[in-house]
């Protein structure tokens, strides 16, 4: 009866009743014609890219969609399941209804509640039609027999009541509702960002439900340990309300821009998913992101007059900068657009939580390779080259040079930033 459900949802808007009747007919015809067309399979494949199913459900260097990737989180290690159509080890016995329940309600075929490391908290917003396209595509790929190891989630995070409670608090089931006051493009962007693109899986939880950070299974932390996902609702963090549409598009589809680069987990998202989004969809996403309100409370932090000690500390940092950083990032932190990110007037540098900054300097990194930027330039890791003290000094310096203003960073912060591997 699935076709009935979708059609009636479409028809709920009175105005389009006639169109709906036509759709209903077409839809029924399609259902009876059974097997999916090349066109619909291509659409389904595209949607799996948008949702990055491939990225999570493929082990590093492993067989596509056969699972086995380890997601290390503060709660333990999750291992993604095999979602190829293998009957024994994959989802070969699943019906479209089973799949819908997984995506929409976060339940496995046997009724087990799934962990939100699978971002059904966002996928719940996608339409049944899109879910069906994804399902049919997944059923069309080669079946791979691969048994993956079990999750390694220690007590108490492995307990059912806890997951149940978490779902009650944080999981709101429901398809995206179009906002009639906004353009079609905006709505498409909102649908993608809130739904299949699952940006909130990393970005919101930490900040909006930030107070609940300690609550079990608090979303943002699940995705990756020891990175801070800045808020898309603050121009001082990851909000892009002040940017040109073109710059937003460039950052999200190529991984670099004149304002900032995608690093760490964000670079992975760009490499695995965003670079494949169609130009229309990237644009829609950018339009939506640009429209988000700036919810940051004007913090109005007043930095005290620098003490002589602090000045000396920063002077040390300046020396380190001149010796090790200036060649790439420039004398006045100006960088080189698209190659070496600027450090002056770059939010990543002044974020109140200096975690990402510390990680970048300890570990270095490359922006993702993408179609638009296939051979990016890299930042060397300084972990082996500089002492923790020098790292703390140079970070404090760049946070307070060329018009930047941010708190000083200590050796203890640097040591904490070292944290776990990824």
């Amino acid at each position: 009866m699935s076709h009935y459900y979708v059609s009636s949802a479409l028809c709920s808007v009175r105005k389009y009743v006639i169109g709906c009747l036509v759709l209903l007919v077409l839809f029924t015809v399609r259902v009876h014609a059974a097997s999916p067309t090349d066109q619909s399979l291509a659409e389904g494949e595209y949607l799996t890219r948008v949702g990055n199913c491939l990225g999570c459900h493929t082990a590093k260097g492993g067989i596509p969609f056969a699972g086995g990737r380890q997601l290390t989180t503060a709660f333990g290690t999750f291992v993604t399941p095999n979602i190829t159509p293998d009957k024994e080890t994959g989802i070969g016995r699943w019906t479209e209804e089973d799949f819908w329940l997984a995506m929409h309600e976060g339940k496995s075929r046997d009724g087990r509640m799934l962990y939100p490391a699978f971002p059904y908290t966002e996928f719940t917003k996608i339409t049944r039609a899109d879910a069906k396209l994804i399902f049919e595509y997944l059923q069309s790929i080669p079946a791979v027999s691969q048994v993956n190891p079990a999750h390694a989630i220690p007590f108490p995070y492995n307990s059912k009541p806890l997951l149940f409670g978490w779902r009650k608090l944080f999981f709101k089931q429901g398809i995206y509702e179009t906002d009639p006051t906004q353009s079609e493009e905006w709505n498409r962007g909102a649908y993608l960002v809130q739904g299949l693109g699952h940006c909130d899986a990393c970005h919101t939880a930490r900040n909006e439900v930030g107070a609940k950070k300690d609550a079990a299974l608090g979303g943002g932390q699940m995705m990756s340990s020891n990175w801070y996902a800045p808020s898309l609702y603050s121009r001082k963090e990851a909000g892009v309300m002040d940017w040109n549409l073109e710059d937003i598009i460039e950052l999200l589809s190529s991984g670099v821009s004149k304002h900032a680069n995608a690093s760490g987990p964000m670079a992975t998202v760009v490499q695995q998913s965003l670079q494949y989004w169609s130009p229309q969809d990237v644009r829609a996403m950018a339009v939506y992101l640009k429209s988000l309100p700036d919810k940051a409370v004007e913090a109005n932090i007043r930095y005290p007059e620098m003490s002589e000690n602090a000045k000396r500390y920063l002077a040390q940092g300046k020396k380190v900068y001149e010796k090790h950083c200036q060649d790439c990032h420039g004398e006045i932190g100006q960088g080189v657009p698209g190659i070496y990110p600027p450090l002056a007037n770059n939010r990543s540098v002044t974020l109140p939580v200096p975690l990402n900054l510390i990680r970048v300097i300890l570990n270095g990194g490359y922006p993702p390779t993408t179609y638009l930027n296939p051979q990016p330039y890299g930042m060397p890791p300084f972990q082996q080259l500089l002492r923790d003290e020098e790292i703390a000094q140079v970070i404090s310096y760049i946070r307070n040079a060329w018009g930047n203003r941010g708190g000083l960073v200590t050796i203890v912060d640097v040591d904490q930033g070292r944290g776990s591997g990824h």
Partner: protein, 240 residues
């Protein structure tokens, strides 16, 4: 008249501005050498200080096929080194290929050999393993695969000269013990390392590190050794 002057002045400033921007772009060379600065901070590049670590292996001049295989192993977790895994994490196969190509063609002087005192019986043991192997333990001569001059063979078998002894020892022991750095993959080389004793590993590594680097890479390998290392060749070919 006045207007014209104004336009000229405006134009002048405009050009100034534009050329300033061009040159700031121009300052960053559009080369692989610039792109791999994040690597050459550790890997000897001719101009950096090799003394910094007696462990970092030299990668300049190594065979391209071998380098690509290693880069993929680091990225995908089959070989483990945290700093490198993080740098390579979001790189495509194509970029890894380009990086491998760059380093394989990089021709820079080798550092002088390490000076380690070896006893005559140690030298004899090393030479015997390297030139003759030990048929009883199914160990072919190292030179049968790595080339007569030990400078590498058939694109996927690396040269063994010009590497720090600490690095060589670590690789062979890791294969032997099956540990995280390199021992999780089984192939013809890990099978051979498993047959060596720790003493042999240390002696061979030291001997290799004391040799002067000279000679050419080789392009011939007997069919049974090709077969033995099949998994490595297939891995490389699948990539091309």
């Amino acid at each position: 008249m006045c207007m014209k002057l104004l336009i000229l002045i405006v134009l002048f400033f405009f050009t100034l501005n534009v050329s300033a921007e061009l040159s700031s772009h121009g300052m960053v060379p559009d080369t692989m050498a610039e792109r791999v600065k994040a690597c050459t901070i550790c890997h000897y590049h001719g101009d950096n200080n090799q003394e910094r670590s007696s462990y970092y292996p030299r990668i300049a001049g190594k065979l391209e096929g071998y380098l690509v295989n290693q880069l993929r192993h680091f990225r995908d977790g089959r070989r483990y080194h945290q700093a490198m895994a993080l740098l390579l994490e979001n790189m495509s196969d194509d970029y890894l290929q380009a990086i491998a190509h760059y380093f394989s063609k990089l021709d820079i002087p080798y550092p002088p050999p390490e000076s380690i005192d070896l006893k005559p019986n140690e030298i004899e043991l090393a030479k015997k393993l390297i030139r003759l192997g030990d048929p009883q333990r199914d160990i072919p001569a190292c030179s049968a695969c790595h080339g007569d001059s030990l400078m590498g063979n058939m694109s996927y078998i690396p040269g063994l000269l010009g590497l720090p002894s600490a690095y060589l020892t670590a690789q062979l022991s890791d294969w032997r013990s099956g540990s995280l750095i390199r021992g999780q993959v089984t192939n013809c080389m890990s099978a051979i390392a498993k047959q060596l004793s720790y003493d042999e590993i240390i002696v061979v590594s030291r001997w290799l590190a004391t040799q002067t680097v000279e000679g050419e890479t080789q392009k011939t390998l007997s069919p049974d050794l090709v077969k033995r290392c099949q998994s490595i060749f297939l891995e490389g070919v699948a990539q091309e």
